[in-house]
């Protein structure tokens, strides 16, 4: 589904990703772990198409398409979804209106007509239950006045509504207490199908107790230095990132 080859990217003249490669197949969950400043969030931004990031070398192939050629909206329409680390507040745009517009635009891209209002409302209702979102939240402006946990749950709710092929969760666990974390993880797990995939970016192993990855990759200084199964996360938790650094240097 996704093949990233030898990716170099920089922001404001500073090289962050330095030869990053990763392959993700349908049905897989990949965790990307790494210390602060290793390039985790840059990876998420580059995948979603944030404009202030410049790709200087490498390729990203998504289901046969050159992802780097696509605008952010076309990436979303192709099925890429980024759950933001810091979701933006948009006063005056209700979540319902926002999602209706997003769904309509995505369907138009695929040549589908707008969803029937009844069908849309039913989907809203089902997905709200899935992420345990308060009914009133969706009539409010996007993220405005939301708590940290509500913002993160709203990200997963949007993901549930839009049903992407590839979900990228950028530090979705940061700022969440254990209950919120459980709800968010539960949502992600229940959205999992053999046809979709997820990249879970995190600093701590904690989230991976709930979202169990098939692969764990360790990102240090802009590239993956070690990959393994879910037990690698535990090892990291125990030994810290210095252990990897030393191993890399050795």
């Amino acid at each position: 589904m996704l093949k990233i080859s030898n990716l170099y990217a920089r922001v404001e003249e500073k090289e962050i990703l330095k030869g990053f490669s990763l392959e993700v197949k349908a049905g897989e969950v990949h965790a990307i772990m790494g210390p602060n400043g290793s390039g985790k969030s840059t990876l998420a931004s580059v995948l979603a198409g944030r404009e202030d990031y410049e790709v200087t070398a490498g390729e990203i192939n998504f289901d046969g398409k050159d992802l780097l050629e696509l605008s952010p909206e076309d990436r979303a329409r192709e099925g890429v979804f980024l759950a933001f680390q810091y979701p933006v507040e948009i006063p005056g745009v209700s979540i319902t209106n926002f999602l209706k517009t997003a769904l309509s635009e995505q369907r138009k891209y695929k040549g589908l007509p707008d969803m029937e209002p009844k069908e849309f409302l039913q989907r809203m209702k089902d997905k709200k239950a899935l992420v345990e979102i308060d009914n009133n939240l969706t009539s409010r402006s996007v993220n405005e006045g939301f708590s940290g946990g509500e913002k993160k749950r709203n990200e997963i709710f949007q993901m549930a509504m839009l049903e992407p092929k590839l979900a990228i969760l950028d530090e979705t666990d940061s700022g969440l207490d254990i209950d919120a974390l459980r709800i968010v993880a539960n949502g992600v797990n229940r959205l999992k199908t053999p046809q979709n995939a997820a990249i879970v970016i995190t600093h701590y192993q904690r989230l991976l107790d709930y979202i169990v990855p098939d692969f764990v990759h360790v990102l240090v200084d802009g590239r993956i230095v070690k990959s393994g199964g879910k037990e690698l996360a535990l090892e990291l938790e125990e030994k810290g990132y210095d252990w990897i650094r030393k191993e890399v240097e050795a």
Binding site: E51, A76, F84, V88, I90, P91, G92, A102, L103
Partner: protein
């Protein structure tokens, strides 16, 4: 200045030729008009050195000869917008009330709506007492000129405890075959506990470039509740100075929403005097100038007495080649303790070639008050745009969504649903063209 010379001379000629004062049976009006004209003669049109008008250039607008007191023989009934069906209506063409096209069916019989000139001639006590006491000729040459030259005008009296159960649509337009310079004038007296909303709707279209100098005076007595919507939707060659002078009394609630979407040069002078303790004023505005349009909002909120509230929010979107001016004065005088006065002006620039001059002015002479003002000018937030796009929404749609939400904060103050919807749709259409 060429303009000063010719237009002033022409105005002088018209003023004496018509011998307006002599035509008036009302004795007091002669003096009223003459004094006003003398004031105008002494002041002239405001030039670019005039502090209150320094961003406006009237000179090119008056280069062609204007007909000053147009009497059109063949008037055509205008086409009204959809929301008109929810309103009473009066039609004002070239400053004159056109009765046959007004619609006042079902108007509470206690309410007077008629010609201001006639009301004065008939010695209407309310009109006589108020005329000349609200807007001051000395403060503004356009007020003086309107006082000298207004033709008939409109008088509206809502007596004590009377409610106007539908908004009154004041359809104000010009008609003729040449450049016109017209002076519509409206005097509104709202009695104690009167309740009314008025829609001042400027809608001149399909006319050689013309200039409207409109004056609306409002006197709201104790506990009156008055809402004024000001919809400015003229063709791109029409210019307008619209002065609203409102004096409000104890317990009054006075609200204005000014939406400027059309015209070449549009200047709003909105002056609200909180003339007693415990009253409140709410001022909202939205404007969207583009391509050589200048929309200028000057507001003055004058707190003279204690325990009053005022709140002001003006928001604009300025497109390529457009120019917006906001000047908001708030006076809190020595006796106006316990005043709450808030003001905010926000602007979004859609191009590097868009200009905003914004100047909030807060002058406080009392010491126990809560006041604040703020102003911001910037571009659409790139983070918000990216967030929307990352969900599959196109850049154009994302912009339109953000601009719609931005306008809604002001538009949601419009309580007449059909007018609210009409303006929302119009603004949405404008934003989609951006």
């Amino acid at each position: 200045m060429v303009m000063e010379h010719t237009l002033k001379e022409r105005l002088l000629e018209v003023f004496t030729q018509h011998d307006l004062a002599a035509k008036s049976a009302f004795i007091g009006l002669e003096g009223f008009r003459n004094t006003a004209f003398e004031t105008f003669k002494a002041k002239g049109f405001p030039g670019r050195k005039h502090e209150e008008y320094r961003f406006l250039n009237f000179e090119p607008l008056f280069k062609p000869a204007h007909e000053i007191q147009p009497v059109a023989n063949t008037l055509k009934e205008p086409a009204y917008p959809e929301w008109d069906k929810d309103c009473f209506r009066i039609v004002v063409i070239n400053g004159q009330l056109i009765r046959q096209w007004s619609n006042l069916d079902g108007l509470p019989s206690a309410i007077t709506i008629g010609s201001l000139q006639e009301a004065l001639e008939m010695k209407n006590v309310k009109a006589l007492a108020a005329i000349g006491t609200l807007a001051s000729n000395d403060d503004d040459p356009f007020v003086a000129l309107n006082s000298a030259l207004f033709n008939q005008g409109v008088f509206i009296h809502i007596p004590d405890k009377v409610t106007l159960d539908k908004p009154l649509h004041l359809y104000i337009t010009n008609q003729g075959n040449t450049h016109l310079f017209t002076q519509p004038r409206i005097l509104v007296i709202a009695g104690k506990q009167a309740n009314a909303s008025l829609i001042q709707h400027f809608a001149t279209a399909t006319l050689p470039a013309s200039f409207t100098n409109s004056l609306c005076e409002v006197q709201a007595d104790e506990d009156a509740n008055i809402t004024m919507y000001c919809v400015q939707n003229e063709e791109e060659n029409q210019s307008l100075v619209n002065t609203i002078e409102a004096h409000i009394s104890k317990f009054c609630n006075f609200k204005t929403v000014t939406v400027t979407l059309g015209g070449k040069l549009v200047r709003n002078n909105l002056n609200v005097v909180l003339d007693s303790a415990e009253c409140e004023a709410h001022l909202y505005g939205y404007y969207h100038p583009k391509n050589q349009q200048t929309f200028d909002n000057h507001t003055l909120v004058d707190h003279k007495f204690p325990h009053c509230n005022s709140n002001e929010l003006y928001k604009g979107v300025v497109e390529e080649g457009g120019h917006a001016v906001f000047n908001g004065k708030v006076f809190v005088r020595k006796d106006a303790q316990k005043t709450n006065a808030f003001q905010n002006n926000k602007n979004i620039l859609l191009s590097d070639d868009a200009t905003v001059n914004t100047k909030p002015q807060l002058e406080i002479y009392a010491d126990d008050v809560k006041c604040s003002h703020g102003s911001s000018t910037g571009y659409l937030d790139p983070e918000q745009l990216f967030y929307l796009r990352s969900r599959g929404i196109s850049l154009e749609k994302a912009r339109a969504l953000l601009l719609k939400a931005y306008a809604a904060e002001v538009l949601d103050q419009i309580e007449l649903e059909s007018l609210h919807q009409h303006l929302s749709e119009q603004i949405e259409a404008i934003n989609h063209q951006v």
